[in-house]
């Protein structure tokens, strides 16, 4: 699996306007100015409020293969953006756009998801 780095020139205003992340904890740990796309295999999901929990098996040249835990928008916000309960499941390969950790560690805040059939919740292919 590969990690694609994309630099945003603008803040993800539309995303942040609908994301209550800042209402629940500091957003300082995530770099919303430099979002990246991560592809991998779904190992665990928890569609919940206040945040999505997603564990994916990810491989890159720098750190090899490992499981990474991500968090993301609330279930309610993602549902309103078009996410349906059966769009992907454990074992599926998906792509996500994340705001990576500012400290460079694994993890990040999921702002968009591309499901196995190509459906995009938010904008994965191009930056928001």
């Amino acid at each position: 699996m590969k990690i694609l780095f994309t630099t945003l020139t603008t803040l993800m205003l539309a995303t942040l306007a609908t994301a209550p992340a800042s209402a629940h904890h500091s957003a300082a740990q995530f770099d919303f100015r430099n979002t990246v796309v991560v592809e991998g295999k779904v190992m665990e999901t928890r569609f919940a409020n206040p945040h999505l929990k997603l564990i994916m098996e990810v491989t890159d040249t720098a750190r090899g293969t490992r499981n990474i835990e991500f968090e993301g928008h609330s279930r309610n916000n993602m549902l309103r953006q078009g996410l349906q309960p059966d769009m992907f499941k454990v074992g599926d390969n998906i792509a996500i756009r994340i705001a990576p950790m500012t400290n460079g560690e694994d993890g990040g805040y999921v702002t968009a998801i591309r499901t196995p059939d190509g459906t995009e919740i938010g904008q994965v292919t191009s930056a928001d």
Partner: protein, 252 residues
């Protein structure tokens, strides 16, 4: 003769009072709108990307500024926060923001329920005979709210608030809030718009009363969802217990 005069006056007085009361009931009943329904943050005619936040910032006293600075020094850049602990916003943040999530109003003659989706935070606004003396109730993050109608406007008075530094709008427990709810001009497509003029008064933490207006628009295509914020934490605890015991957790 005297008895007859008194009786006549009493009957006349009773009839006048009855007629006055009937007029008032009719006038109020005819004018009172129904705010029931699901409401989301006002975006005007600008589409989904538009967002109109309540204007203005409260002018905090030195006492309030010091309290807020102290709180921020402990929490800024951390995961500590009321929302992350699954605690509701409290007034006036619940009414002015609530994380951008929608709200639902259920209205009956003696009580309005306002259900803010975020944290399933509930405000009860008591009218008429259901309205008690706020002094008889313990302070709450959303305080104790009573209301009355003035024509087609609902006037809500809130007191018994807790001192809150973890709020977008820090305030002391001396705070009182007045809200005036009314239907504003609908959108071009006829979508209903609900508005509330809000004034927060705090003799200890505000230099002057803070006034702003919040607007919502009707959610025609969706409804307010459940929001079980503390469930993930409980599931993590359960998972830990099962793992420690060498068992597989089946609960989702």
């Amino acid at each position: 003769m005297l008895k007859i005069k008194i009786l006549k006056r009493s009957v006349a007085g009773f009839l006048t009072l009855t007629a006055f009361a009937a007029t008032q009931v009719f006038a109020q009943g005819a004018a009172q709108p129904d705010f029931s329904g699901a409401w989301t943050t006002y975006r005007g005619n600008g589409g989904a990307g538009a967002f109109t936040a309540p204007a203005g910032e409260p002018k905090l006293t030195p006492t309030a500024l010091a309290a807020r600075k102290e709180f921020q020094s402990l929490t800024e850049g951390t995961n500590y926060g009321a929302g992350n602990a699954c605690v509701g916003s409290g007034m006036p943040s619940s009414m002015l923001g609530s994380g951008g999530y929608p709200m639902e109003i259920l209205q009956r003659p003696d009580q309005l329920f306002v259900i803010y989706e975020a944290h399933t935070e509930i405000r009860r606004i008591y009218l008429g005979e259901e309205a008690g003396d706020p002094a008889n109730f313990f302070p709450e993050r959303n305080g104790y709210s009573t209301a009355h109608w003035e024509g087609d406007r609902l006037i809500v008075e809130t007191s018994r608030l807790k001192t809150q530094v973890d709020s977008r709008y820090p305030h002391s427990n001396e705070t009182t809030i007045r809200e005036e709810y009314y239907f504003d001009k609908p959108l071009e497509d006829g979508t209903k718009v609900l508005a509330a003029d809000m004034t927060m008064t705090d003799p200890l933490w505000l230099e002057e009363p803070f006034t702003t207006t919040k607007r919502w628009q009707a959610m025609a295509d969706y409804h307010v969802l459940s929001y079980e914020c503390s469930e993930p934490k409980w599931l993590d605890e359960m998972e830990g217990l099962y793992k420690a015991a060498g068992l597989k957790m089946v609960q989702e």
